[in-house]
Symmetry: C2
Amino acid sequence: MSLIKVDEAREIILSRIQFMGAEKIPLTETLGRVLCEDIIARRNNPPMDNSAMDGYALIAEDVKTASPENPVILQVVGEVAAGYTATGEPLKSGQALRIMTGAPIPPGANAVIMQEDTERDGDRLLVKDMAEVDENIREAGEDVKVGELVVPKGTVIRPAHIGMMATVGRSQIFVGRRPTVAVLSTGDEILDLDDQPEGPCIYNSNGYMLSAQIRSAGGIPHYLGIARDTEEDLMEKFRWALQCDLIVSSGGVSVGDYDLVKASLKKIGQEMLFWKVAMKPGKPLAFGQIGDTPIFGLPGNPVSSFVSFEQFVRPSIRKMTGRDDLLSTCVQAKLTHSVSKKAGRQHFLSARTVWEKDGYIVTPEGAQGSGILKSAAQANSLMIFPLEATDLAEGEQVTVQLLE
Amino acid sequence: MSLIKVDEAREIILSRIQFMGAEKIPLTETLGRVLCEDIIARRNNPPMDNSAMDGYALIAEDVKTASPENPVILQVVGEVAAGYTATGEPLKSGQALRIMTGAPIPPGANAVIMQEDTERDGDRLLVKDMAEVDENIREAGEDVKVGELVVPKGTVIRPAHIGMMATVGRSQIFVGRRPTVAVLSTGDEILDLDDQPEGPCIYNSNGYMLSAQIRSAGGIPHYLGIARDTEEDLMEKFRWALQCDLIVSSGGVSVGDYDLVKASLKKIGQEMLFWKVAMKPGKPLAFGQIGDTPIFGLPGNPVSSFVSFEQFVRPSIRKMTGRDDLLSTCVQAKLTHSVSKKAGRQHFLSARTVWEKDGYIVTPEGAQGSGILKSAAQANSLMIFPLEATDLAEGEQVTVQLLE
């Protein structure tokens, strides 16, 4: 079995992954979801011309000669606050209307004079400055015009988008469905958190970690616990898993493994691919479909499982939810110390990337063994050490994948 | 009333904000929460010396002369798989035991030879290579030693931390409590999403946007709807709000505002501070306490409300949940075109920051008016235009606050 490159494996995988379709959910639940419709304004915002100031609505021509020395005197005929409409006749020459910020401009008026430029005595108003036509008037549709696209399809929804969708009066929004994802760990040496620790067993970290990765990628994890190394248990758990939209198992895919996962996968999978991917950690990888359900067989070593998820499963879940940006954000960073490896596999080093003054610097974390989750837990990024590279020098610019 | 700087206002606010204390929750619910205890390994991982390979456990001295030409013959006396312990007598000279990856090293053995370096016929094993003492043996505690700190207090929990906590057998974890946060919008011109649009009203965007901001900051929003501009309605809503750990209202804090929010806040707040903050958007800001409950009065304009939340409320919620990193991540970015302003206020421009080849570049989004949420919705960052600066040239490095 020859080695397949990371990008090639991902391309094959993504070609088999389908968008889940959309569902309509309350606006208040859309944070972080993927918008699946164009949000179009159904009316102008603001809906009508309104005042940008607390002051007086008037007719600009009436006050064109006004100055502090020669104020113009107008008669105040009413008042209008935000949220209300002026009552009575349209404004006539010589009249003014008290107006609050946001209140609609009354018919007849064509300017607003700031309160500070006036003096008032009963219904007598001294206007001490001129006003241009349209002065202090915010036009209808100044923020958003009817028919305007305000949030485009494909947007990953942040708080300001929610504000924008509320502005245009939308309360139920089409977003991409979140896939349900079955998580299955395998192996007789694996202990669950509610088991009594005894003998040479180790606790199942992958099941919990993968569930969290699935959640952060936009999926809904369903942890099916640990399948023992018997065909009965494996087949039963895989049958449960088939109730989900996607299956992620860990363990039992290494070449030469004695356990039954591979055999079971071959038995139930219509078309399973078993790869040696040219990456480290995470060489063995299985991918295929059971019926229409895509299934990933990730390696059992925790760091291999973690890194493989980030390269293959996260982009798949993103695609299922309707995202266009399938890959995690990558940046360039300056390497703090030299690193070496053999050519032939792309390495992903658990690394700490921090912003310092004018750029990112990256430090690979201590031991990088595939069993040692400690380094991955201290990392906020994966440093990419390219396939054929063997030495990267201190100070070199390298590519870093930022972890969510 | 003189202007107060953003940093000064934030410092005063944060000095009044208290950590909420911790609660113990299931490991599976801890993603994104703040760890409030040091996680210490309670046993070694791996728990005992085990095999790094599929192969045979043996005594290194037995095979010190072994080579492909002169293989050493051993007798296979048993087999041990991962998760099980070898039964029977300790290994004696001349004996070997079939061993799988992860299985504990049987008593008496001190090395593992790879399967590829052997040939087997019944219980006869031809060993075709020598083995060093400890070869292919992973020592007990190689990953994690008992007593070791594996995840420190204060960590914002990511998937790999969840894996690490599972590794050490922890299922219930102390994390910082999430504050409940009351969200209140005010103003007679504000329409809620389930109201019939009529007249000069505008939809309430702030209530929904602030709720989403609160959630993304780690709080639990409780949207109390819109309070009308009457003392009765305001006082009733503020009484409801007092059932929460924090109150965020928007609207009614501008100097010279006619509405009753300020008066009501003064009436119920023990010690309310009304500031003009030297920032744009977002000049007016109220902060104080009702009993022990901190309360923010944010401006009513959507962008002012949005930006003020990011500068003052998000750091406060982070502190309440136990985070140490109170401020949002800032990076330096190259400005794509020149911008100007008057000195005297720190501006926050809605901006799009993207990574290009070897650094970030930042483009302020179109119109920056405080009523126009469109720019904020298109932005992924706020560009900081310093207090006293008036001109920033194209190509200049500027500070950018990345939005969550």
